[in-house]
Symmetry: C2
Subunit: 430 residues, 2 copies
């Protein structure tokens, strides 16, 4: 029997899920992998408020240093989240040659390079499957499942809170605020949902995927990020009538020597499989050469699905080891790749604004778009009312962000235009 | 640089795809994995008919024994398919301590146990990602990506030919024969498509998935198998009108200490993600505890997608090694699990037959079903014509296969019933 001593730091929802999972599958893991995971130490800063029945054989502490300094601990599981202390824990463990499993997307997104270097230097391993899509094995898929392929593009619905809110707004006719409240009521959104709804959670995850797929660490602030707070019910309805649906997508593409990396609400065809990924489900749709396209989807959040990713990491760590020099996903960076600025990125756009319903209005607006090199693929004007402003929806052909912004500014200044134009990027995914 | 000597046996479509892939990604593999794969020997029984330009440094032979007997070859890739010779190659290589990569589903399905035992005995590794779903990393996902979970059920669209034919019949209104011809014309069906359309190809793949998910080798002939040759356009149309779609599903479930394993045309809700897996795409939808459900989908056939699975195996073999005693997916069998006979399996059914359009007909038929303990959830009679027989479609509640067969026999013997009843099983996937 292979016995592995575990130090678990962070006894919150996921941490207790991991302990439950390991208990439930103890015999299976023994039988199949001849391995026993012993929870030697459990560390949490507020242990006194937590239920520790069943953990009588485990040493309990609120001082993480005790975990790092225990030479008997083989692997440290970091589940406290956040940056400063988590970094001390992960870096400290690696420096002592301890292997680390973490679900901390923010940490890997911001400090991945440094941590992978430490892991390499100290011959330790660093696993982080649950950092993206919880138990959905997207990290394993990119780094091993379809390894060898050249990744061209990747589209992820990787924030369950946002996907739940957009689904509620689309299917149950709710406003953004109502949908957010429902998400909170059902435990799908944090008390402070800022990082979810402003897109930053997706951005952290995308930074990790970009590194793994393209071999380039990019800074989180190089990823253009736009959340879902500005999505209105009107836009969802217009989208529906155009056979489109709005998803918060994390998008990465390789275009020659440029990387596009961005997170924003995106209109996609309702016929694409990603359009039917609803509620708290996450999905990653990617295209790799020569494999072709691949979709992987499952629940992207929740106690046990996150615990599943951590336990899979633990078993993979225990059963296989990387051959020398191939530790920890640290590989030569594709340094020639540059992140393309959002200004220079070309997409199609959906544009909506209110305009007076008079002859000549559309010709004026399409004239401005035309001067900026933007062609229109379709125009819809929903109602006719010569005395009031009516909504106008336009779908453009490919245009750079920069030219679109310039054109919208001019359009907005027209007296016939009665609202700030809304613009939502569209993506054709196949 | 880690240099690995490869012997490739079988220079057909996939074999030449593997060579192309390795050439194309040679630098990437060197940079990222410090590994070089050297194609030392290429073996094919009809090399004289094949293009071997670019293979000047490779030893060419039509005698596979030369590959097995070459002590310098580290890993043998078997891509000839079929059973007898392939088994000699794979077993022979393992017995010499050579690692093996194969895409041969028939071989693993029928001889997996023996081969895994050989691999263990001779400390060799046996990889077979491309045997199911080609490059879709379903083997990796089950054995590593979500390892530790307890698998409850698995539903696969794992034959691209059948899925293409059913899609053509559904979307383009074709008969089975027309759709098959179209598949052959587009290179999606073999000249002799028997193993695809009779379901056996799916059955081989299902046997592999059952072993990996449930830990029990089951015999291929223990898997109830029904192909798609009997599916008529009428049934597809009736299904559509009931918001259902027909897919050839490979189904495995764990129900207490029984395993259900079967391959047959299946009616599923059009709202389920599997319903939108069309054309040559494959998908596996599975449910595991505590992870929840997971869907993985991509192109399940084609030269380069199959080659992708082989190359991923090769890189994974080269970069990680299993810790001792954990070789090759050989684990203690879940011997207590029994395969449930098809007679005893309960599903809902769609039934269609022609009956005379007279009062009392339905009550006679539902009476027979009722006597066999089968409840009806809905009845549709498409047209009214008191002089001619009209189609009647019934959806039943859960019933065992045995009782349904007995009831159908009685129904068929009624003089008011003018056709042999068609029965298609239904599955609720969530």
């Amino acid at each position: 029997m292979h016995r592995i001593q575990v130090g678990l730091i962070g006894y919150g929802t996921v941490g207790s899920g991991v302990i439950q999972f390991l208990n439930r599958r103890k015999n299976f893991i023994k039988n199949r992998f001849h391995t026993e995971f012993v929870l030697k130490t459990l560390c949490d800063r507020s242990l006194q408020n937590k239920n520790t029945t069943g953990l009588e054989k485990t040493y309990l502490t609120s001082n993480f240093q005790e975990v790092l300094d225990d030479p008997k601990i083989d692997v440290v599981i970091e589940l406290i989240g956040g940056m400063d202390i988590a970094k001390k824990i992960v870096a400290g463990a690696l420096k002592r040659g301890k292997h680390v499993i973490t679900a901390n997307k923010e940490l890997i997104a911001n400090n991945g390079k440094e941590l992978f270097q430490l892991a390499k230097k100290y011959k330790a391993q660093l696993y982080f499957e649950s950092s993206v899509g919880a138990g959905i094995p997207i990290i394993k898929t990119i780094t091993e499942g379809i390894v060898g392929n050249k990744f061209s593009s990747l589209y992820g619905i990787i924030n369950g809170t946002c996907n739940f809110i957009l689904t509620e707004m689309t299917q149950h006719n709710r406003t953004f605020t109502e949908a957010l409240q429902e998400a909170q009521k059902r435990g799908f959104a944090e008390g402070d949902p800022t990082l979810d709804i402003n897109g930053m959670d997706s951005t952290h995850k995308l930074a990790i995927l970009v590194y793994l797929a393209f071999g380039k660490f990019i800074k989180v602030n190089e990823i253009y990020t736009e959340g879902i707070t500005q999505i209105s019910h009107d836009d969802i309805e217009h989208a529906e009538s155009l056979n489109l649906t709005i998803k918060l997508l994390a998008i990465a593409k390789r275009v020659n020597n440029d990387i596009e990396a961005r997170v924003h609400p995106t209109l996609i065809s309702k016929d694409h499989p990603l359009a039917s990924i609803n509620n708290i489900y996450n999905a990653i749709y990617l295209y790799a050469e020569p494999l072709g396209d691949l979709l992987i989807s499952g629940q992207g959040a929740g106690q046990m699905t996150a615990a599943s990713g951590v336990v899979s990491d633990l078993i993979n760590f225990a059963t296989k080891e990387p051959k020398s020099k191939l530790l920890c996903n640290l590989f030569d960076e594709a340094t020639h790749l540059k992140v393309r600025k959002i200004d220079q990125i070309k997409t199609k756009f959906y544009i909506r604004f209110m305009a007076t319903d008079k002859p000549g209005v559309l010709s004026k607006i399409t004239g401005i778009l035309g001067k900026h090199g933007i062609s229109i693929n379709s125009v819809t004007q929903k109602a006719h009312n010569p005395t009031l402003a009516v909504p106008v929806v336009m779908l453009t052909d490919y245009a750079t962000e920069k030219m679109l912004r310039l054109a919208l500014r001019q359009i907005q200044s027209l007296s016939i235009v009665k609202s700030k134009p809304v613009a939502i990027r569209m993506e054709k995914l196949w």
